[in-house]
């Protein structure tokens, strides 16, 4: 075993329960993760103080490192919500999903992924994806069937759908970030602020740089006249309102827009 006894001693039933439940849920929002952590302490070790989440997770990750898995933190692209998922770092290709899907289904996903990465908006229309059905490897798939497969992807949290268009689920971005960088090296987009993978975002119409919606919100937070950080031209888009954990904690009443974005959550 590559995990030495020293590191193993970090793993207690608190951590094990946490990992079990995190795995069960697939992907979780930060506040749910915190609640989960507290629950695990309550169940297994009431006396111990609840460790700060970041440290708690870093400790777990030090054990998981040799197994090539990780509790990874990400941010939802549409509303800046912090999320966590247990991801596998070893397999970098779509074969991650291989055990769940047939060859032609995996290929459909690859085609959809390519369209999404190439697109300007980060969304691929259902029509465009379905038109590629004839090019799929493996057993022939009809469009009707493909529609259902796309829904399967949505249910498994690999894709999300909005108004008949598909984009990557935040969980998929967490898991496949590396694979997407490697596979679509030339067409992949990055955010100029946080420098990570960008699927959906806003772009400067003059110089073409891109930013995630939450990154835009943070960057232009207190400016009355938003300007592109690269070419200083006026930023042509509406500055979005995104999730702010501090605001959420302060307000006792739930905000209407928060509720609506929540109901959009998967």
């Amino acid at each position: 075993m590559q995990c030495g006894p020293r590191r193993m001693s970090v793993m207690t039933d608190v951590h094990r329960r946490f990992l079990q439940l995190l795995m069960t849920h697939g992907v979780l929002e930060e506040q749910d993760v915190k609640r989960l952590q507290k629950h695990c302490y309550k169940v297994h070790d009431c006396s111990a103080p609840v460790e700060k989440l970041e440290d708690f997770i870093n400790n777990i990750n030090s054990v998981l490192e040799s197994l090539y898995i990780e509790v990874k933190k990400g941010v939802t692209e549409d509303d800046g919500r912090p999320i966590y998922a247990l991801v596998n770092l070893a397999t970098t290709s779509v074969s991650k999903m291989a055990s769940d899907f047939a060859e032609n289904e995996l290929d459909l996903f690859r085609k959809a992924l390519e369209l999404i990465v190439d697109s300007e908006s980060g969304f691929a229309s259902s029509t465009n994806i379905l038109n590629l059905v004839d090019q799929l490897k493996g057993k022939k798939m009809k469009k009707k069937e493909a529609e259902q497969v796309l829904q399967k992807f949505v249910q498994s949290k690999w894709l999300t759908e909005k108004d008949g268009e598909f984009t990557l689920h935040s969980r998929a971005i967490l898991e496949m970030e590396q694979h997407i960088y490697e596979t679509y090296r030339d067409s992949v987009k990055t955010c100029s602020i946080c420098h990570s993978l960008l699927i959906q975002g806003q772009s400067c119409e003059t110089c073409g740089i891109r930013m995630h919606l939450p990154c835009v919100a943070k960057y232009f937070r207190s400016s009355s006249e938003p300007r592109c950080p690269h070419c200083s031209d006026y930023w042509p888009h509406e500055i979005p309102e995104v999730f702010n954990p501090d605001k959420e904690r302060e307000s006792s009443t739930s905000k209407p827009n928060k509720t609506s974005s929540r109901s959009r959550q998967h």
């Binding site: 075993m1 590559q2 995990c3 193993m8 793993m11 039933d13 094990r16 329960r17 990992l19 079990q20 439940l21 795995m23 069960t24 849920h25 697939g26 749910d32 609640r35 989960l36 507290k38 629950h39 695990c40 169940v43 297994h44 054990v63 998981l64 197994l67 090539y68 898995i69 247990l86 596998n88 070893a90 397999t91 291989a98 055990s99 769940d100 498994s156």
Partner: protein, 317 residues
């Protein structure tokens, strides 16, 4: 799930009316004990048909020869193929395979899919099939140490595995994430009904109870969705329930039994505790059932002790 004790009036449920239990339609836990083996030796359960427990070193230099011994006819899960001259792989490769298998099993379990040994071989182990025993052993070990889960062979004949929690069963209590697992309550209700009846529960009886809780077969429920589908398909697919046609009955009727996974994950004592909570009674209000639960608990403890002593006599890695 709120406990509406006053309403649960199905007579065979609320109090014990059935006579001293006729054979309960589940296999007694004891015969299953050799399969439901203690933690880190699940691979040894596959030797159920084989003569000796061979001390397993995790590096396979010496193992390759031992594994070439012919396996029992149909029992051994890892049948060895005659491949003379196939050099054993580097230990690092076996370790990697074990990690891949660990993830594979976790994902399958997450999606509530069956963990089937032939699938494991086809999808992960591949050409390392000859060393599957050591791979599986390492995977089991990691799962126990890191996740607190046991990879258990629950059915030798169908070669199905299941991931079982090694930690205290917490699903019966309120779950951290705002009761987002009400399914457990629903399942426990049905399992309890079956247990109290002492035999299969007819679908009609199950619905009598569920209707009182506001669940109807053909109506979509805000929390459970399509309840009938959940209990006749969902729970069945996850092996918590068995849904079978009652023989020789026209028009056709169906009944529910405990599934193999329920038998492994849920103890009779937990059912008694559930009943006690729901009906606000002492578990001994169902005397013969309570006795059975006690017997099972004793048997499980003994099995655990036996396995524990067996474990200590086999060399560990």
């Amino acid at each position: 799930m709120s406990e509406q004790n006053k309403a649960l009036g199905d007579p065979s449920f609320a109090a014990e009316t059935s006579p001293a239990s006729p054979g309960v339609p589940m296999e007694a836990p004891l015969p299953a004990a050799p399969l439901a083996d203690a933690p880190s030796h699940h691979v040894s359960t596959m030797d159920a048909g084989q003569p000796l427990q061979q001390p397993q070193a995790l590096s396979d230099e010496g193992d390759a020869k031992a594994l070439q011994q012919p396996a029992e006819e149909d029992q051994a899960v890892c049948t060895v193929q005659a491949q003379p001259g196939l050099a054993p792989p580097a230990p690092a490769q076996l370790v990697q395979k074990a990690h891949e298998l660990m993830w594979y099993v976790l994902v399958k379990d997450q999606k509530k899919m069956v963990i089937w040994f032939p699938d494991m071989v086809r999808d992960v182990i591949g050409s390392y099939k000859k060393w599957c025993r050591s791979i599986l052993r390492r995977t089991s070990l990691i799962l126990t140490r890191v996740f607190g889960l046991h990879l258990r062979l629950i059915n030798l004949h169908t070669m199905e595995f299941s991931l079982v929690k090694a930690l205290q069963q917490e699903e019966l209590d309120r779950v951290a994430l705002n009761n987002r697992m009400p399914m457990t309550g629903l399942l426990m209700m049905i399992l309890s009904l079956i247990y109290v009846k002492g035999r299969g529960a007819r679908e009609s009886a199950v619905w009598n109870v569920l209707r009182i809780l506001g669940l109807q077969p053909w109506k979509k429920h805000p929390t459970f969705g399509e309840v009938r589908r959940l209990i006749t398909e969902g729970f069945v697919q996850q092996k918590y329930l068995k849904y079978q046609r009652v023989p020789h009955v026209e028009p056709p009727e169906y009944e529910f039994f405990w599934g193999s996974r329920a038998r492994h994950e849920i103890t009779k004592m937990q059912i008694m505790e559930f009943l006690a909570r729901v009906f606000k009674k002492d578990p001994q209000a169902w005397p013969s059932r309570y006795r059975e639960a006690l017997e099972e608990a004793t048997a499980l403890r003994e099995a655990e002790l036996t396995a524990h002593s067996a474990r200590s006599s086999i060399s560990e890695d």
